[in-house]
């Protein structure tokens, strides 16, 4: 319980720090938003009026607190470019990216645990060698390139899906999922390869430890030692890895969306960056950071459940 409260406090502090950094970055560096919205020809009077309206003349701390208050009410400000609420622009894009990341995450877990265990069990065998080599190569393939290969092989040659034929989930959620599975594989592949390798190494190094010898001395067979004793210990580094991989997977999803022509956060982020539409960029960054931080918090809790030794620092 004490662990939980302390971690929760840490979570809140981290969120505050992140939001403050993001706010400062976007409030200080890019220049005057009023000019950005009205263009350089606007008169000084109109600019001043807009600054007043946007609350830009208030001190920085006040603006930060207002910004936080607005976010808590679901208001991320207005786009400079389209002059519409940011929330309405990203509201339906967010679930798409989240789905992509979630399916990828599930795939990683489903692929890596059985394969990692199999590798470790038959370490030194043919299957193990094949997987280890394949693993090393797959790790080196960037998600967008594996996306291109998947499009070529499964889309264009085998016709398992129509490249670019994205169906939104409001239309037909089954076809939506059917389409999303391919980009998910692209995102999941390199991370699964790493997880397999990590789990294999972890199991093999755990197997050398003293408690395994103790387990054998009580009359356990190889299988019982692996599943009852070793696996749980070996999963600890894998959990850490999955927590850290999440941030990369969100980034991977944003890129892979471009390969498969999926209208998620990725496209809107890119257009906003090239248009210098800062409120939109800021909102997306905050959303992703919050998501990553919250998931890491959950991973910490899971960690505690698996490893009783975890205390605070």
């Amino acid at each position: 319980m004490k662990y939980f409260t302390k971690k929760l406090a840490g979570l809140l502090v981290t969120l505050l720090v992140v939001s403050f950094l993001v706010f400062i970055a976007f409030a200080v560096i890019p220049g005057d938003p009023a000019t950005a919205m009205l263009g350089t020809e606007a008169t000084e009077a109109r600019l001043e009026a807009l600054r007043e309206e946007l609350g830009l003349n208030a001190p920085l701390m006040v603006r930060y607190l207002r910004w936080i208050r607005d976010i808590l009410q679901g208001d991320f400000g207005r786009s400079y470019r389209y002059n519409m609420p940011v929330m309405s622009m990203i509201g339906d894009k967010l679930p798409v990216t989240l789905t992509l990341t979630a399916i990828s995450f599930a795939l990683i877990v489903l692929i890596s645990i059985p394969l990692g265990v199999a590798c470790a069990r038959y370490a030194g065998g043919v299957l193990d060698h094949v997987i280890v080599v394949a693993d090393q190569i797959i790790m080196a393939v960037p998600p967008f390139f594996s996306g291109i290969l998947i499009t070529l092989v499964f889309g264009l040659l085998l016709h398992l899906f129509v490249p670019g034929g994205y169906v939104s989930w409001q239309q037909d959620w089954l076809s939506f999922l059917g389409y999303m599975i391919f980009p998910s594989i692209a995102v999941a592949l390199p991370k699964s390869a790493m997880a397999v390798k990590l789990l294999r190494t972890a199991i093999l190094s755990e197997t050398k430890l003293d408690y395994v010898r103790t387990a054998y001395s009580r009359g356990n067979g190889t299988k019982a030692v692996l599943y009852r004793h070793v696996l749980r210990n070996a999963l600890i580094p894998v959990i850490t890895f999955l927590g850290m991989a999440l941030a990369d997977m969100v980034a991977g999803s944003i890129i892979v969306e471009q390969v498969f022509n999926i209208p998620g956060l990725g496209r809107i982020l890119l257009t906003s960056i090239s248009n210098r539409d800062y409120p939109v960029v800021q909102a997306i960054i905050v959303c992703i950071a919050f998501l990553v931080i919250v998931v890491n918090f959950l991973v910490d809790l899971l960690y505690k459940a698996v490893d009783p030794r975890i205390t605070l620092e």
Binding site: K2, A9, D210, R218, A224, H229, R309
Partner: protein
């Protein structure tokens, strides 16, 4: 009950096969305790693992027979072997922390053998037996221990848990591989007593493997002495102790520091006639903040040193004895100025006190050559040309009994004893007047230990050193010291000349330490 006949073990993981055990024979009767003694690398642990059926490495060749009640453990089917393991043959190991699974509750692990060998037993019965077993190994509050995880218990408690888990099916043979080496002396003593009681009450035969001769003597009737894979001598324990036949056994026994009343130490005279004190320590108090239990709780302070005062005279060796956690290492740090907080005064009458640490593996920078390490203090102080530095480093190597070729080696290429010599050399480069040795020989084999002690004593004479000799080992301290401090829980509970403290102890804690170290009256007389 157990017959080991012509056991040979051979490794094949290098190009040349390496035999680690040669022609080993052993016969054990039910209910007997046999000690298997040897220094590291003698093959005693390999033999023990083979008897327990735990050597399953493919790159190892096993010849001979290990008959447990007629079943050959080396050749029988795996299922047959598994039926014996944990049920008839149980084993406990040196490191109770790493030998217990860190992520599973203690109760689960104690019950495990029951789950495997008595599958028909129901959950309540298992738990009842486990709790009874935990109480039986003298653990207080068995219910709480049952629910705990290994990291929540102390070292002694963990070893008791290991014993409980091993004994739960009532095995006929318990193999104990250095079960007390990682523990404090008084705890060590308790575990030995527990093993003796188990043997007496349950008639369990015990094969006790240890490097510690005096411990084996307390526990075993019969002893087998091993050296580099071969049996050197075996027979009745008292007989071997009083009349060792083989040279190696004699050397092993001689290496145990004996506590004889007539100490022929010339140092004790110079100490008395010495010209005053080299170091005065008074009223040292230090505490460390503990972790908060609640979010807003005030941090509690755990007092590690509770007002320690003493002095060291010129040319004397002052022994400091205490168990782990008593604050002796913290005290060393305070004296050296490595620990700056806390109250009290430390007055040095000499510059540069130096230190020799316990672990010769951690106290030499692994990425530097020995020569560099020896020259480093001179380099920091400055005022020496590179040639002078080199010459002085080589001279120091010779002083600590090492050849000049060692200067170009990395620490990892040296043996434990050689490393400790280098450590001593590095500490003496600046010619200090005071040397602090913190458990400096504890990690070494007895014969090596003996050589290092000899080296320290001769260097002391040669260079006019004073030594603060910190150790948990009563015998080693006796051999080294002129005066002794006994430390318990951050306080010095007794001090005086070695003769006083060892032969007329006042404090009950001192008496307990002496008893645990098995310092017997006949030795003193």
């Amino acid at each position: 009950m157990l017959d080991v006949i012509d056991l040979n073990l051979e490794f094949h993981d290098h190009l040349i096969p390496e035999t680690v055990v040669f022609d080993f024979d052993l016969h054990m009767e039910p209910g007997e305790i046999v000690g298997l003694v040897g220094e590291s690398g003698s093959g005693k642990s390999m033999t023990a693992l083979a008897v327990a059926g735990l050597l399953s490495r493919h790159d190892m060749q096993k010849r001979g027979r290990i008959l447990f009640e007629g079943v050959d453990i080396l050749t029988c089917e795996r299922s047959r072997l598994r039926g014996l393991q944990g049920d008839d043959i149980a084993m406990i190991f040196q490191e109770p922390m790493t030998s217990l699974n860190p992520v599973l509750p203690v109760g689960w692990q104690v019950e495990e053998a029951l789950r495997i060998h008595r599958p028909q037993m129901d959950r309540e019965e298992r738990k009842r037996r486990a709790l009874q077993m935990l109480a039986d190994v003298e653990l207080e509050d068995a219910e709480r221990v049952y629910r705990s995880y290994p990291h929540q218990l102390s070292g002694g408690m963990r070893q008791r848990v290991m014993i409980a888990a091993a004994m739960i099916c009532g095995p006929r043979l318990l193999i104990a591989d250095e079960p007390t080496t990682a523990l404090d002396v008084t705890i060590q003593h308790q575990i030995v007593q527990l093993l003796l009681r188990i043997n007496r009450e349950k008639k369990t035969a015990i094969l006790f493997i240890s490097h510690d001769l005096s411990l084996v003597r307390q526990l075993c009737r019969r002893v087998v002495v091993m050296q580099s894979g071969r049996i050197v001598e075996s027979g009745d324990a008292e007989e071997i102790f009083s009349h060792p036949k083989e040279d190696y056994t004699r050397r092993l026994i001689a290496a145990i520091p004996r506590c004889e009343k007539e100490k022929d130490s010339p140092a004790s005279q110079t100490a008395d006639g010495g010209d005053g004190s080299l170091l005065e320590v008074s009223g040292i108090r230090i505490g460390f903040a503990q972790e908060r239990r609640f979010l807003f709780e005030r941090r509690r302070i755990r007092q590690v040193l509770k007002g320690v005062s003493f002095g060291i005279r010129q040319g004397e060796v002052l022994g400091l004895v205490g168990e782990s956690g008593c604050g002796k290492s913290t005290l060393a740090k305070v004296i050296l100025g490595l620990e700056k907080q806390g109250a009290g005064t430390v007055v040095h009458r000499s510059a540069h006190p130096q230190m020799v640490f316990q672990d010769p593996y951690g106290s030499l920078n692994p990425s530097r050559k020995v020569g560099w390490i020896l020259e480093e203090p001179l380099r920091i102080r400055g005022g020496c040309t590179p040639q002078e530095r080199r010459e002085r480093a080589l001279a120091m190597l010779q002083k600590v009994g090492l050849g000049p070729e060692i200067a170009d080696r990395y620490p990892r290429q040296l043996s434990g004893g050689q490393r400790q010599r280098v450590c001593i050399g590095a500490a003496l480069m600046l010619e200090p007047k005071l040397l602090i040795a913190d458990e400096a020989v504890s990690a070494l084999d007895v014969t090596i230990q003996d050589q290092i002690l000899e080296l320290l004593l001769s260097l002391k004479e040669e260079m006019g050193l004073s030594i603060l000799f910190i150790s948990h080992d009563m015998r080693v301290v006796y051999r080294m010291s002129d005066r002794v401090l006994i430390m318990q829980d951050g306080q010095i509970v007794e001090q005086g000349s070695v003769e006083q403290v060892y032969f007329a102890p006042q404090h009950p804690y001192t008496k307990r330490l002496l008893e645990a170290a098995d310092i017997r009256p006949e030795e003193t007389g």
